[in-house]
């Protein structure tokens, strides 16, 4: 599959410049050496627990990080380097965001005009059919965001991306608060869009849904990817997975034994030396605590581990 990737992220790092006391400056590294590609027609799920920096990835791609953030590495959209001007031009046209919660809707604007957006001509007709398809009753468009249920709000947010007709969609936790059917419906729509040739970056902690709908899954941990593998590998279980964390994640699922992994994810600012997963890794060796492994190809996927087989 040697087609051009829609989005290619190379060694992305995001650091926040903090002021600690009067003059002491501190750099807080939240994303390190993140590499990722999204091809047209596929859903790539970025799965990781809370605080792993998933949402910042979305902001970084869109160029919407706060002013005190410093980014490193390179990002490409359809082979073109994503500069901040480029990001500005692509936002809302080629790249669309499905944000996390109702707080991303203007509280004083009715949902209908809000979903239509500011671009003329207004896509009102298209929006109405998308609302209908997402199971939003017709009167929804006349409601203010505070009157929406959590699931309705998310469907409205999903609808904004569908309306935009963008080729790359970044969905930041689009499903919580929806019923299973609504979540399936939303993800089915994403699947259909992917089948039409769009690329979708699905940021989620709902691993089950990611397994079922994504083509590839990037396991995100403490601001970086530990493994990128096809969703099939995750469905098959630990034998086809590569990284010890991915295996532990699989085993922690209720249907796979519900076995928890000891310890917790390190916080930004307290990252360990060497491999970020080393402190919790059952197979760690002396080298893991000294050197940071880089991503390497293995059995059709990628893994960030010296000893994975």
């Amino acid at each position: 599959m040697e087609q051009q990737p829609l989005l290619k992220v190379e060694d992305l790092s995001v650091t926040f410049r903090m002021y600690d006391g009067a003059l002491a400056q501190k750099d807080l590294s939240v994303i390190t050496d993140l590499s990722l590609t999204v091809y047209p027609g596929e859903i790539v799920a970025v799965a990781g627990s809370s605080g792993s920096g998933k949402s910042l990835l979305a902001s970084a791609v869109l160029g919407l990080l706060p002013g005190n953030a410093v980014t490193g590495g390179k990002m490409y959209y359809r082979g073109e380097l994503l500069t901040s001007e480029k990001q500005k031009a692509l936002r809302g046209k080629e790249i669309a965001l499905v944000p996390q919660s109702v707080s991303f809707l203007d509280p004083l604007m009715k949902v209908g005009p809000q979903a239509d957006g500011a671009k003329k001509p207004l896509p009102t007709k298209r929006r109405k059919s998308i609302f209908q398809r997402l199971g939003l009753p017709e009167k929804t468009e006349k409601l203010y965001p505070f009157a929406l249920s959590g699931g309705m709000a998310r469907r409205v947010l999903v609808s904004t991306a569908l309306i935009s007709d963008a080729d790359l969609m970044i969905a930041d936790e689009p499903t919580p608060g929806m019923t299973l059917n609504q979540a399936l419906e939303a993800l089915t729509i994403f699947r259909e869009m992917a089948n039409e040739g769009k690329g979708i970056l699905l940021i989620t902690h709902d691993i089950d849904l990611a397994f079922a709908f994504a083509d590839r899954i990037a396991v995100f941990y403490a601001g970086t990817t530990l493994e990128i593998a096809s969703a099939k590998d995750f469905q098959n279980g630990p034998d086809t997975l590569r990284h010890p964390y991915s295996k532990a994640l699989w085993q922690a699922l209720p249907q796979n034994g519900f076995v928890p992994l000891k310890g917790f994810q390190p916080y930004a600012g307290h990252l360990p030396q060497g491999c970020l997963f080393a402190p919790r890794c059952p197979y760690k060796k002396e080298r893991c605590e000294r050197e940071t492994p880089s991503m390497r190809e293995m059995r059709g996927g990628e893994v960030r581990c010296f000893y994975a087989t």
Binding site: L64, L97, P99, S103, F104, P107, L108, M109, A118, A147
Partner: protein
């Protein structure tokens, strides 16, 4: 429709009761302060009447109830106040209610002009500062606002008077109408012409508060998630300001605007005095300086009522404007 109006009326009624209670407290405090002051109302009343004997004076005191216990005097005053009798001004020898009526008519024109000016200037500057936060327009305007909010109103009035009325002679030096003209002959334009400079003084003294509040509110709004999302959808900064910024700062701005009545009234006392403008503010100053107790009490109560009404309007208005409160009970 009914479900919407009933809670509104309920809130209106509750606020109204609270307002009346507050006015009652103001009346007690004002009456107590005046009773404790060394000003002798009988002496003031007799000033214009020529020499009086001790007996005549005692008769007047008896007639007025000066020697009754204070609580009884308060209730006498309150009951006649409630029946519409605010007493006779010792300075003007006319009923206080007539004077307040006339002066208020002059003042309301002045305050309305100043209110609209300061609201308009303040809101516009606040929006510019908020949108250009920490860049040069913001930094300059912020200093201008700090400067104006620390300038005393009377000094500002004197400077404007000196520059525009005395040196440049663009505006009249004072009063609400040309000197030597009958009230019926004064045109609306002449009234406006006389009112402009004091109104400008008043609005220059109070716009900075509105501007700085609007700035902060706009900055808060522009940091909200929904603005981030609007950016992610490709809306430009100008569109965001129009579509989301203004919409979300309008309600706090309205509230602020109506609750600025108090400052406006306080400022008008100084501005009207400087410009010899015959409004309620200058009447308050005259009543105070000439120990005209009935007028002073009347104006105190009236200005308290005025400020309360402003706050009441602010409270009620955001119920009408904000859909989150308006539709809460659907």
């Amino acid at each position: 429709m009914k479900e919407k109006i009933l809670p509104f009326l309920g809130a209106f009624f509750a606020k109204g009761v609270r307002m009346l209670a507050l006015l009652l407290v103001v009346s007690i405090a004002a009456f107590a302060l005046v009773s404790l002051s060394p000003v002798d109302p009988v002496q003031q009343y007799l000033l214009g009447a020529g020499p009086v004997s001790e007996e005549q004076r005692a008769q007047v005191e008896e007639y007025w109830g000066v020697n009754d216990p204070p609580v009884e005097r308060y209730f006498n005053w309150l009951s006649s106040l409630l029946s519409g009798d605010m007493g006779i001004s010792t300075l003007y020898r006319r009923p206080v209610s007539d004077i307040i009526g006339e002066r208020f008519f002059n003042s309301i024109a002045l305050m309305l002009c100043a209110w609209l000016l300061s609201g308009g200037i303040g809101f516009a500057l606040g929006c510019v500062m908020g949108a250009k936060k920490d860049r040069w327009p913001d930094r300059i305007l912020k200093k201008v606002c700090y400067l104006f909010s620390s300038l005393p109103t009377f000094w500002l009035g004197l400077v404007l008077l000196l520059v525009f009325a005395v040196w440049l002679a663009w505006f009249p030096v004072g009063f609400s109408a040309p000197i030597g003209m009958l009230d019926s002959e004064v045109s609306l334009w002449q009234r406006f012409y006389h009112l402009l400079l004091p109104a400008l003084t008043l609005s220059l003294a109070s716009f900075s508060n509105i501007a700085l509040h609007t700035r902060q509110k706009l900055i808060d709004v522009l940091e909200d998630d929904y603005v981030l999302f609007a950016r992610a959808r490709g809306e430009g900064e100008g569109t965001i300001l129009r579509r989301h910024g203004l919409r979300n700062i309008l309600i706090p701005a309205l509230t602020l605007q109506f609750s600025s009545f108090a400052e406006l009234f306080g400022g008008s006392v100084l501005a009207e005095t400087v410009f010899s403008y015959p409004g309620l503010g200058s009447a308050a100053a005259e009543a105070g300086l000439n120990s005209d107790i009935p007028l002073l009490l009347g104006i105190t109560l009236f200005s308290a009522l005025f400020v309360c009404v402003g706050n009441l309007i602010a409270d009620m208005l955001y119920r009408v404007v904000d859909p989150r409160i308006r539709e809460e009970r659907r």
